[in-house]
């Protein structure tokens, strides 16, 4: 139960990194990556996943 980032479409704006309530997103190598062990899909905190809600690119931050 986690989200993932499609690296080829990511603009690397970093908004998801600071919106993530679980600290699950970081810049690794050349891309932003979601740590599936930390990602909670925002359950119990927000109604919708913050990373997917703020992402400017359609279908780029999606269920893994």
């Amino acid at each position: 139960m986690a989200f993932k980032i499609i690296a080829s479409q990511c603009t690397q704006c970093g908004a998801c990194e600071f919106e993530c309530p679980s600290g699950a997103i970081g810049f690794k190598g050349d891309n932003y990556v979601i740590d599936p062990n930390k990602c909670t899909e925002c359950q119990g905190v927000f109604e919708l996943q913050q990373c997917a809600s703020v992402c400017p690119m359609p279908n780029t931050c999606v269920p893994a």
Binding site: T11, A15, S53
Partner: protein, 493 residues
Amino acid sequence: MSAPIVSLESLTNATSSGQLLRTARSGGGVSSSCGLSSRPTDMDEATWEKINDHPCFSEEAHHYFARMHVAVAPACNIQCNYCNRKYDCANESRPGVVSEKLTPDEALRKVIAVANDVPQLSVLGIAGPGDACYDWKKTRATFERVAKEVPDIKLCISTNGLALPEHVDELAEMNVSHVTITINMVDPAVGEKIYPWIFYGHRRYTGIDAAKILHERQMLGLEMLTERGILTKINSVMIPGVNDQHLIEVSKWVKKRGAFMHNVMPLISDPAHGTCFGLTGQRGPTAFELKALQDRLEGGAKLMRHCRQCRADAVGLLGTDRGQDFTVNQIPADVAYDASKRHAYREVVARMREDHLAAKNEAIAMVASASIRGSLQVAVATKGGGRVNQHFGHAKEFQIYEASQTGIKFVGHRKVEQYCHGGWGEDATLVDIISALEGIDIVLCAKIGDCPRDQLIEAGIRATDAFGYDYIETAISALYAAEHGIDLLQATA
């Protein structure tokens, strides 16, 4: 006016501050102690103090001073139909486009490198490429580092306004003196056509709700800035058929809330940019439509007509971009700030501006006093310093002035491709330049070859280098007098 012609180029190319001052002083004859200020008569001293070296807030200052943007804030909280943030190209010049994103530490190094090398530098702005207020931690970290190392630079941000109210107090504390808010509507029904969504309070809003929240936050932010005495500029993108007429209403709303300046910019729209408007075929306004709207807005907040819609990583005088000379890999890891070149330049410019202002006022008074009906549209090739000092073939833009019975007014600029490429001119480029100069009566430049001059004449546009190196307004007034057969001396006597 017997102004010495010290070319600004000789100043900015000087390698040391001592050399800079010697070059300037060797011009001789400029009085620096007559107590004149180049402040316009219709502006209070405190406001003038804030804008007199800000190229974006003062048309007069943009002849002398440069800005730089550091692209430290890539995250954004709204989507605009005229923006595609995936785009990244060194040859594109429009807001939101950058070649490299910087960390606050890299930004500090870049600011120091530019300040050491570009004496005209007076302002550091953060204009994204996302939103400076939303990507706040990076914006704040950058300003804090720069204020400590380069204390004599003005700090400035550009924002869509959504996250602005929560940071106004911090902006005031950090001495951010100028804020630009992009406001394209004051009616959410119009906003809905421009903004597909916003991200606010941990959720995404779409449609009319999104536009309504954005509008309320923009107005609140503007009012809060005005209360704290921070100067504001409102940028509006003119989108024909969407908000063009509506911008008259926008102008009234923002003026009422204390906006200092209103800048109406044309929509840049091209399918190749991959923006929503680009792909749907939404067109931008023509130069005539833009000017007609700007003319209708006169009398509201002060109008900015000299905006070049620069990139989020632009460096240099407006109209030139030296950003590519200062990419991070060209900057040494250890670079120390040296203020001497900038200080020397400021001293020189302060003297020149007094002389320029006196010449300008005299020229404007002459044209106004001639009270002749009809206007003259003049395109000027200039490299800065308020003079006709660029070769026709080197111009990448022409500044447009209008001489009429109200005086001489700067009304905008037209971008062109450079015609001359080291000894030869490109005919196809000349055709494009001629079409960009539509409606212009006369082109003033420092030098022009016979071939382009003849082709311009065929297109009904005269070009002359007879006023090369004169102040722009002085040249235009002489031209105006010649056109209408007025004796200059009699007219001003």
